[in-house]
């Protein structure tokens, strides 16, 4: 049966092209792979090959013709001995690409991908009668990992110095002794490689915990975190994903300069497919780490070196977890809402204390998870105080605070009595000199000043 040869699309953006030259003439016999013509696309001149075998029955578009639309019939291919007149009209119709589909119901609201509680959940993390123990953030993280490793054989820890050295920051102290070298694995200093291996292991059914000595070094591995771990569930149509945790200290420590002091909260928070946690207290660290290890998605767990040694009450419970997407009101107040997370909470709480001395009552919200973000708790508080200040050590442009500001503006604009202020780290690489470093970070006084500004005091 005769078939029409159609003007091909030869690049992702090509809609039309020039039929520069015919390399066959009517009556020529062609077979698969023979070059039929040269076609100029928007990018280059391409050779156009035959797919089927046959005889060129008729050339429909002369060489040198410009602006030939994709899918226009340019020649007719016939079988040997067949005449061109036998080409059925339907040949063209059969080759037309599928038409636009009929109207479909509009897509669901983005809320489906961003599970946020419709109403702020203010239940306490543990019951009032539960005993607590003073625990450092460091011990809480270790305890959480150990409990989950006891619970599930497929959980393992890998990273630089996590095993024999007992952790560069001693987070994995004792884990090698309890779980052995099969499950607590020292890696060479190759973040890109071991993040990829861990992601592959997660595809293969394990639940890796990857420790980055600091998140600064995870920039070497960010391709696997985002392109491999975060996107595969979507790209596979739900067939496979990466249940795993990437954890380690994030942000400024002290006097380690520009390359070791970056806060990545805003970076990772932007990625659909990732969940992002930034705990403040030891209880946050423990309850959220256990949730992170059990979560079937890749979780970014941003710790802080300065907080590692701080002690907080942690409930004595067999299985203490904190759900993602649930902020905690650390201090109730009426005049201004301060929203923060991680190390930022130290500035927020100190500022609230100072403000109280001056008769300003600040409500302090500890976000704990940045994705999913508990915006309902923020909005409920802002509707009460009518003022908001966000606090983080990261840079100002594209900050977590700027996202929170946009949420408040869109959903509680009428409640605001002042523009939201974002207190952030300064817009500079981290300097080494002690005095400069102090000023590059936030200060409690800056937070106090911002709160006074929005309360017109």
């Amino acid at each position: 049966m005769a078939t029409e040869i159609l003007m091909p699309a030869l690049s992702p953006t090509m809609e039309e092209g020039t039929l520069a030259k015919w390399l066959v003439k009517e009556g020529d016999k062609v077979s698969s792979g023979d070059i039929l013509a040269e076609i100029e696309t928007d990018k280059a001149t391409m050779e156009f090959e035959a797919v089927d075998e046959g005889v060129i029955g008729k050339i429909l578009i002369a060489e040198g013709t410009e602006g030939v639309k994709v899918n226009t019939a340019i020649a007719v291919l016939v079988e040997e001995g067949e005449s061109v007149d036998e080409v059925p009209d339907q040949a063209r119709d059969a080759a037309t690409p599928a038409s636009e589909p009929g109207p479909q119901p509009s897509a669901k609201a983005p809320a489906a991908a961003k599970p946020a509680a419709a109403v702020a959940d203010t239940t306490p993390d543990w019951a009032a009668d539960v005993e607590v123990r003073k625990t450092t953030v460091r011990e809480a993280l270790r305890d959480a990992m150990a409990e989950e490793m006891r619970r599930d054989d497929s959980v393992f820890l890998m990273g630089e110095e996590v095993a024999e050295y007992q952790g560069a920051y001693k987070i994995s102290q004792g884990l090698l002794d309890e779980f052995g070298a099969k499950r607590v694995i020292d890696t060479p200093i190759t973040e890109h490689g071991f993040a990829g291996i861990a992601t592959g292991a997660a595809f293969g059914g394990l639940k890796p915990i990857v420790e980055f000595m600091t998140f600064n070094f995870a920039m070497q591995a960010i391709d696997h975190i985002i392109n491999s771990a975060a996107k595969t569930l979507y790209m596979s149509g739900g067939q496979m994903g990466a249940p795993m945790v990437f954890r380690g200290p994030n942000g400024a420590a002290a006097r380690v300069g520009a390359q070791h002091s970056q806060d990545y909260a805003a970076w990772y928070m932007q990625i659909p497919g990732l969940k992002v946690v930034m705990p403040y207290s030891a209880a946050d660290a423990k309850g959220l780490m256990k949730t992170a290890i059990r979560d079937p998605n890749p979780v970014i767990f941003l710790e802080n070196e300065i907080l590692y040694g701080k002690s907080f009450d942690v409930p004595i419970m067999d299985d203490f977890t904190i759900p993602f997407g649930k902020a905690k009101i650390e201090r109730a107040g009426d005049d201004v809402t301060i929203v923060s997370f991680g190390i930022g909470m130290t500035y927020a709480l100190a500022a609230a204390e100072k403000l109280a001395e001056e008769g300003i009552s600040a409500e302090v919200i500890n976000l704990r998870t940045l994705r999913p973000m508990d915006t309902e708790t923020i909005l409920a508080s802002v509707r009460k105080t009518n003022r908001c200040v966000t606090v983080e050590e990261g840079w100002p442009q594209g900050s977590v605070g700027s996202y929170i500001s946009s949420v408040i503006m869109q959903q509680a604009f009428d409640y605001l009595d002042a523009p939201v202020i974002n207190c952030t780290g300064k817009d500079v690489p981290m300097p080494y000199a002690a005095n400069l470093e102090k000023h590059a970070l936030l200060t409690v006084d800056e937070v106090v000043a911002a709160c006074k500004h929005v309360t017109y005091r």
């Binding site: 030869l10 090959e49 394990l206 149509g237 067939q239 496979m240 659909p272």
Partner: protein, 336 residues
Amino acid sequence: MPPKQAAAKSNVSAEELLGHYREMLLIRRFEEKAGQLYGMGLIGGFCHLYIGQEAVVVGLEAAAGEGDKRVTSYRDHGHMLACGMDPKGIMAELTGREGGFSKGKGGSMHMFSKEKHFYGGHGIVGAQVPLGAGLAFADKYKGNDRVTFAYFGDGAANQGQVYETYNMAQLWDLPVIFVIENNGYAMGTSVVRSTKSPSLWERGAAYGIKGEEVDGMNVLAVKEAGERAVAHCRSGKGPYILEVKTYRYRGHSMSDPAKYRTRDEVQKMRDERDPIEQVRDMLLTGKHATDDDLKAIDKEIKAVVNEAAEFSKESPEPHLDELWTDIYATEIPQEA
């Protein structure tokens, strides 16, 4: 060691040769059809065809066992067909339809099949190499004897993460076969223009990894080398490298005019070393099949491919609700 020659042809059964012929032909006809559908605007974006390289995956799949895993780059259609994924689901993914393996959300470069242990389909050059080692890590951790084939090209062979992975794979004795599909060109840059030491498998020696070069146009040579690699990995001796010398007849992607090589070079390869023609000759000269037998297979393959193409056109586009699904898992995906 020097390239291994194919096993004595007399030892190969007609049934095996016909199987290789059929599978390689399916890939070639499928890819030709994909090129055609791309030309018609039914397939969008990037589309990297496997034509010319068919013997690599067909030979290695013949050496693979039940439960073995595979992962590759964006030039992935051949791998999926060779491991038994349904041509209809592959073609429908290329056209971005609901019936595709990723429900139309992955496309040509990002496709997966848990059932067939095919772990993608990855669009970032070299990323599949540590991912493949990670799959092997999981099998070793679980204590089974499965192996993983991690395919990558001569271009990816210059990626730093490949060498990070070689080091850890050998350090931890991971059962992974690194398959370097050396088709001579990393997009438009030939191996000699990108690589100072052109013997890519020998780089494994720096890590103590055994390997060899293989004639990738000869399916029997590929299978035999694959069997050596599988035996090495399965016995717990760690990774193995196969540098398979192959050739792609088409451009890097559909929009590549391939001006970096001569038409004669391509034609010579097609005329003298074509992997399908080689098996066809063996079948005919060995009197394993007649011309009519092969014509019947051709016809049968053509029907399979046409059916896949029809399905890929008729399958509806994904429902708009699909935009918002599969971003987060509600439960932990379990091993098949």
